[in-house]
């Protein structure tokens, strides 16, 4: 009897270990806060991550099978879109905002420059449905995937059920995007005691902490809240940011604060992509015009000499995470494709 009990317990633990081996554990990088994403509703799983990666890179999500998430979120741009100030869509349409870089999404609670989306799972619905992006709707996406034997098989592997639903599509996309963690920049290595800042980088770090850290707070380099960047409003885009969503005056011209990680890869900058260099951005922040706007809002103005600007940029470049940008696991899933789509 006792032997049986021990055997049963042993089998139980054996099965449990098997289960845990399949489930990915989300690792919180050194000094990073607790993630905001609720993993209990969508526990990471290697097959679901794979499915999400396939979907992320597949133009099947768009109306005419021409645009995928990666069309505007390229891994080599830290999942932003280089050289394009505004996002692109089906039929060569141009959108109204600069595609943001995608990383450290598990720490974010609102999405899009205007914060219109309240959860990572629901974010993909916006570009899928936007007529100037993918021009599709989630119900059609589900039926296209359901009619595709390759995907039926992948959904079965991920969910032990080949029935495709909107929930499964969205959660798989979240799974892949949650794995896009950037935490191996020189800055991170310095914090872990594995590297040292140069004298110039250190000077830049001090300037950063004095002038930038309240909005672009380390170690994520954003509070992921909202702020004003004080750039003059574009007369054709007329973008009021969060104010246009909430219809509240106090939210007018508030935009989601972007992280300063991976700036080398993710140019152009700001919500309409008007700045192509970090020098452009800093010149904007230290211009007389912007200083006046800071004063009017009761904010501490940014003080930066010409030399300080160079030092600050040298620090900002320590936030580039080459390992993240060139991570094979984030790339186009060539190895997962058993057949090429026509």
């Amino acid at each position: 009897m006792k032997k049986n009990v021990i055997a049963i317990i042993a089998i139980f633990f054996f099965l449990l270990s098997f289960r845990q081996a399949q489930k990915g554990v989300f690792e919180i990088p050194y000094l990073f806060p607790k993630p905001a994403y609720n993993f209990t509703n969508n526990p990471l799983d290697s097959n679901k991550i794979k499915l999400g990666r396939l979907l992320f890179y597949d133009a099947i999500l768009s109306k005419d099978n021409s645009v995928s998430c990666s069309s505007c979120h390229s891994p080599f741009s830290a999942f932003a879109h280089n050289d394009h100030n505004l996002s692109h869509g089906i039929n060569d349409q141009i959108g109204v905002r600069n595609a943001p870089a995608l990383f450290n999404l598990a720490w974010q609670t609102t999405f899009m420059w205007d914060g219109a989306i309240n959860h990572l799972d629901m974010q993909a619905l916006a570009p899928i449905s936007s007529p100037t992006e993918m021009g599709e709707n989630i119900a059609t996406v589900v039926s296209k995937l359901q009619n595709d034997s390759f995907y039926r098989n992948k959904f079965y592997q991920a969910y032990t059920d080949s029935i495709v639903t909107g929930e499964k599509v969205l959660k798989a996309l979240s799974q892949f995007q949650l794995t896009l963690v950037s935490s191996n920049s020189k800055y991170d290595k310095v914090k872990r005691g594995k590297a040292d800042f140069s004298e110039q980088e250190l000077k830049g770090y001090t300037l950063f902490q004095k002038n930038c850290n309240s909005c672009h707070r380390e170690p994520l380099f954003s509070t992921y809240g909202f702020g004003k960047n004080f750039i003059p409003i574009d007369s054709t885009l007329k973008d009021y940011g969060k104010g246009a969503v909430s219809e509240s005056k106090k939210d007018s011209l508030l935009f989601k604060i972007p992280s300063l990680r991976n700036l080398k890869y993710s140019y152009p900058y700001v919500h309409d992509g008007r700045f192509y260099t970090l020098n452009n951005v800093l010149n904007h922040y230290i211009s007389e015009e912007t200083k006046l706007k800071f004063k009017k809002e009761g904010l501490k103005k940014i003080n930066l000499s010409a030399e300080g600007k160079v030092d600050l940029i040298s620090f900002l470049l320590t936030l580039n995470d080459k390992e993240f940008v060139f991570n094979q696991k984030h790339r186009f899933p060539r190895e997962l494709l058993v057949k090429w789509r026509e």
């Binding site: 509703n41 309240n118 959860h119 909107g166 929930e167 219809e247």
Partner: protein
Amino acid sequence: MKVLLVLVLSSALNLAAQRISFSAEIGDSMVHVLGDSKLVSKLMFYVSDLQLETKDGVILEMASYRLIDFSDSNSLVIEAIYPDMKEVKAIQFKLGIDSITNVSGAFGGALDPTKGMYWSWQSGYINFKMEGRVKDKNYLLHLGGYSSPFKAVQQVVLPVLHQSNEFKIVLPLKDLLQKEIPENNIIMSPSLAAVLISKKIASFFYLH
């Protein structure tokens, strides 16, 4: 088959089957499935936390989330079986989806975004959707909004005067079609108008 099973089970085990059905009142008729009516071409709404309150104060849960869709007659009937049915004092439900669910990511079943009851450009469920044409004008009512000041979800409480194993809940559309819609024929985002009309709709429900 399902009905037969319920009957057999309830007689064998002394179980009580309780049904709730929804219908819409258009003109003089009770409508269960919209035909190719131009007046009302689409009518869908969420009912959540559907509960029966018994005379001795016990709350019986009937359904957590249901999408009532007048293009699908199956969606209009909700059934539950209780071991010992007491007299029912009231039926209560929320018209729409609560705020917590609205901010908690993707869900399946009735809440799957493929149901056409989720906004894409801005997060949030559409609690109530009604479309059609009245007085030569198309109307689109997409009512929703989960955060203050445009929180549109409404609590509905219907007192039960006559006990029955089938309660018939009716939504009369007369006032909507004659008063609210001619004044506000397009609502497609969270707004004050959406909240006010949601309140009115919640007050229209009655037990047949």
